[in-house]
């Protein structure tokens, strides 16, 4: 349980997302953050909904999914401790492209992204490193996805 601002700041220190922010900038970001817990099998958001919120996962796992007609809801990726959930709030049309549902109980730091965007818009010196931190998270996710696309475990007979 994160009881106060120093504890929240300590918790955020574990996430590379905020490493390049100064102490003063981090304090502003902390003002837009709160701790949340979700039970297992809790839907955090659905594909197509307005994208509000960004979560830094501290404990537990979250499945990213999409509804595929004829196949049902398909999980495309699992994210876990240390990962960032949700970045569609950053760019238009600000809608979730995939859904997110917890697999087990999840503890996370949740950002009020309306506030976060306002902070970044008002102070590009805060916004730039914040976006770079998000870009780093996106890049890691992209590289992991590319690694899967290599289909490395397939039999040589299939190539």
């Amino acid at each position: 349980m994160l009881r106060n601002e120093p504890q929240m700041t300590d918790a955020l220190d574990h996430f590379p997302l905020l490493h390049s922010l100064s102490a003063a900038q981090r304090a502003k970001v902390v003002s837009a953050a709160r701790e949340v817990t979700f039970p297992a099998r809790h839907r955090i958001f659905d594909e197509g909904q307005p994208a509000r919120g960004c979560w830094l996962i501290r404990h537990g796992r979250v499945a990213l999914d999409a509804l595929v007609p004829g196949r049902g809801t398909i999980i495309v990726q699992t994210i876990g401790p240390g990962d960032v959930l949700g970045w569609s709030w950053l760019v238009p049309p600000r809608q979730w492209h995939f859904g997110a549902v917890t697999i087990d109980a999840v503890n996370a730091v949740e950002f009020d992204t309306t506030r976060l965007r306002a902070l970044a818009d008002a102070d590009p010196a805060l916004g730039y490193p914040l976006v770079l931190g998000l870009f780093d998270a996106v890049l890691q996710r992209l590289q992991n996805t590319r690694a899967r696309l290599l289909d490395l475990y397939g039999s040589p007979r299939e190539r």
């Binding site: 398909i74 495309v76 990726q77 240390g82 690694a147 475990y153 007979r157």
Partner: protein
């Protein structure tokens, strides 16, 4: 250098293209294998391939897990109970599990790379009190392509072992992680000073996994990988398995990442 006859006393189908053979000596056995070493298995009249040991029976029986990828491996994979194969070995370096006593073990397996790593898990569990955490992160393309599925379930149920199985391709009914092995590996909180990592799988998978471990502060000399090349003689004479300055059959297959990193980054080696 002559193959020693071994009889197949059990054949277990692992996946649609992999099977584990239990081999017992017809006469005098080959010297004892250590985890990570490989043998040259000979299918009579067809040929010989290098296959890592995937377990060592308490009675000295050899267990080799073989994927059917070519003429020789198919003949070995298809060998039935009672048939006789040839074994040369053991060859190469081992995982050095005894040098990791007192450490946390992080075992990262991709696809059939779990086979050479199984003796590490079994060795650690046999002397469980000698090691800190025992963590296994195993990746496969789909749920049915994991080797040793019953054993994985047993290991998952153990309170003294952490297991994460992840699959590359979405699959209905799978409730484990979906993602490349680097993803659950990234979730782990590890103590860099006391962690020894053992990584085996396709070379890009080992490279990507090693990068995650390095990012976590684990020194390259504490990351061990198993290299694969075209082994022929097994004793460093023929040169078929040359990889840069290494003859993998003799200087490998297990090397630490200070040795492997520049070789895995080079094109066409």
């Amino acid at each position: 250098m002559l193959p020693v006859p071994y009889r197949v006393t059990d054949r277990r189908v692992e996946t649609r293209d992999s099977a584990t053979l239990r081999l017992e000596p017809v006469g005098v056995p080959v010297p004892a294998f250590r985890a990570g070493q490989f043998g040259m298995l000979y299918a009579p009249g067809i040929g010989e391939v290098a296959i890592s040991i995937s377990a060592i029976g308490s009675d000295g029986a050899l267990l080799h897990t073989i994927r059917d990828v070519g003429a020789v491996s198919r003949a070995l994979h298809d060998a039935q109970d009672g048939s006789v194969l040839g074994v040369r070995g053991p060859f190469g370096t081992d995982w050095g599990l005894e040098t990791a006593v007192g450490c946390d073990l992080v075992i990262v397996a991709g696809g059939v790379g779990l086979a050479p790593l199984r003796p590490v898990v079994l060795g650690a569990l046999a002397r469980r009190a000698d090691y800190g955490r025992v963590v296994l992160v195993a990746g496969a393309r789909s749920p049915e392509e994991f080797l040793f599925r019953e054993q994985l379930a047993d290991w998952t149920a153990r309170p003294d072992m952490e297991v994460d199985q992840t699959i590359d391709q979405p699959a209905i009914g799978w409730d484990g992680p979906i993602g490349f092995v680097t993803e659950p590996l990234g979730w782990l909180e590890l103590d860099p000073q006391r962690t020894i990592a053992f990584v085996c799988g396709p070379e890009p998978m080992m490279r990507f996994s090693a990068n995650v471990l390095l990012d976590k502060g684990i020194p390259a000399e504490q990351i061990r990988v198993s290299l694969e090349r075209n082994m022929q003689c097994g004793v460093g004479l023929c040169g078929h398995c040359q990889l840069g300055p290494l003859l993998v059959c003799r200087d490998g297959p297990v090397v630490d990442y200070t040795v492997a990193a520049p070789l895995l980054a080079a094109r066409e080696l």
